[in-house]
């Protein structure tokens, strides 16, 4: 039984406080968001009763359509606006709104018909015509079989313990012939790029199946110690098959192939290849849940920097559950449960990792208003915990102690969205890692300044 250090207990209490704070903030926003939606819903239902009594009241009908759109009940808005066209067939503005509604419903051919009719309407003003043409361009882009999306974050960050070493110098034990290196933590700064992209190709079948490729790229270049430079690239490729065909609504299954390549110190560290399967389902209350299983074989490159890297050759298995729950109109709670099994050539390098992580994201209007961005401010709070036990003791360290690491990490960031695509922000993250082998314990604080583009 390993003795826990008092310092670790203090850190754990601090981290627990952080978790409680994040969850409390999320929980506190739940009732407010629910109240707001409930009151709008009540107004919406009451409006419909008024519409039934007075269906030709255009103002009432438009109010009902607007509230339906606000609540995401686009069918209500569609039926209200289509009724207006029965009163007067020459309403290009109503046709534009219907085109946009059908576009939101991803019924692009129908959207196009309405927008084309609006653009061609003899009584459409130049402004209305231009609006219809602009919407047509958007619809054509969304209706293309080739869909892209991505996020690119470019920034600088400072790490208080960039080399993740213990805080104090550690003397080499007597009798060791291996080099004795004083291990002092070293702060450093780096420039980093964190990018992720997705490409979907519509296979054009009746089930809306797609072929999907994802790409991930991370690169950091440190200011002082280039040994810390890290590069990560990952690619996945596979079809995404809808499961409505077997009675599971709003669900998809994606088998995929994957490849990974990592560099450290500007030298190849590992290359991996394997496959995975993902089950994704959106539930009625808006939760997007995804379950993954991945297996990857990994080979490590020996180098002058790490001549024994190939002893880590082996495989990695990952089982992951993510859930993303929208709360109200502008906030989301994300949860992650993950199990990683790293098999290597030696048991003392082989380990399992268990992670639980939660983050809460909220968008809101603040002091600074940005045209076209109703909620320009974004706050993200996140907290997580890892436990990584190893399979066997490392005889080179201590033949009697199996390494076991625990990490708490928590952080927060604040972004200002300057338009729909671009945001700038700052973030602070704190990682507290404790190990039953003291040399693997360290604390690191990271401060980040970055610009994030979403497309």
């Amino acid at each position: 039984m390993q003795r826990r250090e008092p310092q670790f207990r203090r850190r754990r209490r601090l981290a627990t406080l952080g978790v409680s704070l994040a969850l409390s903030l999320a929980a506190a926003s739940l009732p407010a968001a629910a109240d707001d939606t409930d009151s709008k819903r009540a107004e919406f239902l009451s409006l419909y009763q008024q519409v039934l009594k007075n269906p030709t009241n255009v103002e009432l009908t438009l109010h009902y359509a607007r509230l339906g759109a606000d609540l995401g009940d686009y069918e209500a808005s569609v039926s209200a606006l289509e009724r207006l066209l029965m009163y007067n067939p020459n309403l290009p503005t109503a046709e534009i709104e219907l085109g946009l509604l059908y576009a939101r419903l991803k019924s692009y051919a129908m959207a196009r018909v309405y927008l084309e009719q609006a653009a061609a309407a003899p009584n459409a003003s130049p402004e209305v015509r231009a609006r219809a043409q602009d919407a047509l361009t958007k619809v054509d882009r969304l209706n293309s079989p080739h869909q892209f999306a991505g996020q690119v974050e470019l920034g600088v960050q400072y790490q208080s313990d960039a080399n993740q070493a213990p805080g104090a110098a550690v003397p080499a034990p007597p009798g060791f012939t291996l080099p004795s290196i004083p291990l002092r933590k070293q702060s450093d700064g780096d420039v980093f790029l964190n990018a992720a992209g997705i490409y979907r190709y519509d296979l054009g079948d009746a089930e809306s199946d797609t072929l999907e490729a994802t790409g991930t790229l991370y690169e950091s270049v440190f200011f002082h110690d280039s040994h810390l430079n890290l590069g990560i690239a990952e690619l996945t490729l596979g079809p995404r098959l809808t499961l409505d065909r077997i009675g599971i609504e709003h669900a998809t299954l994606r088998p995929y192939l994957m490849g990974t390549y990592v560099t450290l110190s500007n030298t190849s560290l590992l290359a991996g290849g394997g496959g995975g399967i993902e089950l994704a389902k959106t539930f009625q209350w808006g939760t997007l849940a995804r379950i993954f299983y991945e297996h990857e074989e990994r080979g490590y490159f020996n180098s002058s920097f790490d001549p024994l890297a190939s002893q880590l050759n082996g495989s990695v298995d990952v089982a992951r559950l993510t859930a993303s729950q929208p709360i109200g109109e502008a906030s989301t709670l994300d949860l992650l449960l993950r199990y990683v099994r790293q098999n290597t050539r030696f048991n003392f390098d082989t380990n399992s990792q268990y992670r639980i992580q939660a983050s809460y994201t909220v968008r809101y209007a603040g002091l600074l208003s940005v045209p076209g961005v109703p909620r320009p401010w974004e706050t993200v709070l996140e907290v997580g915990h890892d436990w990584t036990p190893y399979d066997a003791a490392n005889p080179a360290i201590n033949p009697n102690v199996k390494r076991s690491d625990r990490s708490w990490f928590f952080g927060g960031s604040e972004f200002l969205h300057v338009n729909k695509w671009l945001a700038a922000g700052i973030g602070v993250e704190r990682q507290i890692t404790s190990s039953n082998i003291g040399n693997f314990s360290f604390n690191n604080t990271t401060a980040t300044l970055s610009v994030k583009a979403s497309f």
Binding site: T56, S79, R83, Y87, T93, S107, S125, P173
Partner: protein, 286 residues
Amino acid sequence: MSPRRLAITACTTASLLLALPAALAPAQTVGVTGAVNPNATGTPPGATVRALGTGNDVIFNERIATEATGQADILFVDRSALTVGPNSDLVIDEFVYSPDTGTGKLAASATKGVFRFVGGALSKNPDSVTIKTPAAIVGVRGGVIIYAMNPNGGGTLYFLYGVQASLDTPKGHKELRRRSWAIDVGADGQIGDAHAADPAALAALLALFKGTGNGGASPPPTEQGLAGLPALFIDDDIDTNQIDLRNYLRPVDAFDIFQIESLYKTRQPKHGVIIICTDCCTRNCG
């Protein structure tokens, strides 16, 4: 049937009827006409034909018929809307709706013409909305459809939005889940393959649902009146699809980067710790 059995049957039936929740009992008034362009008529059960006007109650089992320029838009109490196009004939066979639970059933029979159905509360539930046509029974689950009947009895189902729409015939069953797609059904009940809806056909169908008169609104809405009002969506933003796609990105998590760094950096002699153990020194090295 013996008098005793008759009495038991009557009592059982009466008990069942009394036990039936009032909210689930068939409604007499199923909705109102939200818009009507002449000529459209309604024939309530057991009553004579009446000219439909906007704002009229629509009665359970009422037959709605339109002539060449006639149109009728029925707003049901569950917020469904059924637009009956020109030269059409349709009967509301069944309408049961519980506002508390949002459940019930809407069934109609159409013998000719064209209709558009926009779902309300009922269509959110499976098997709750069905429309019988000469060639097939159309099922709607949570959405918007148009069904156009050919003079020969066959037809085409256009699925515009929702979970699914289905066609049932003695010769088979097919479901349509892709939006702006269609399926043809022959007069003999043979169901074709799903295909993308022809935009020209959609435009022609929409023309049938556009007002041939003022729909009963006096004065009717004008373009000038609408153009000055705020749009439904800020900045005409329809990029939700793009945002949906972003949910499937696989970015590197900041804490994963720390993990990778910690796993590999600690192996390096310059930065690493692999050969040194303070715990073992404390306990074993004296």
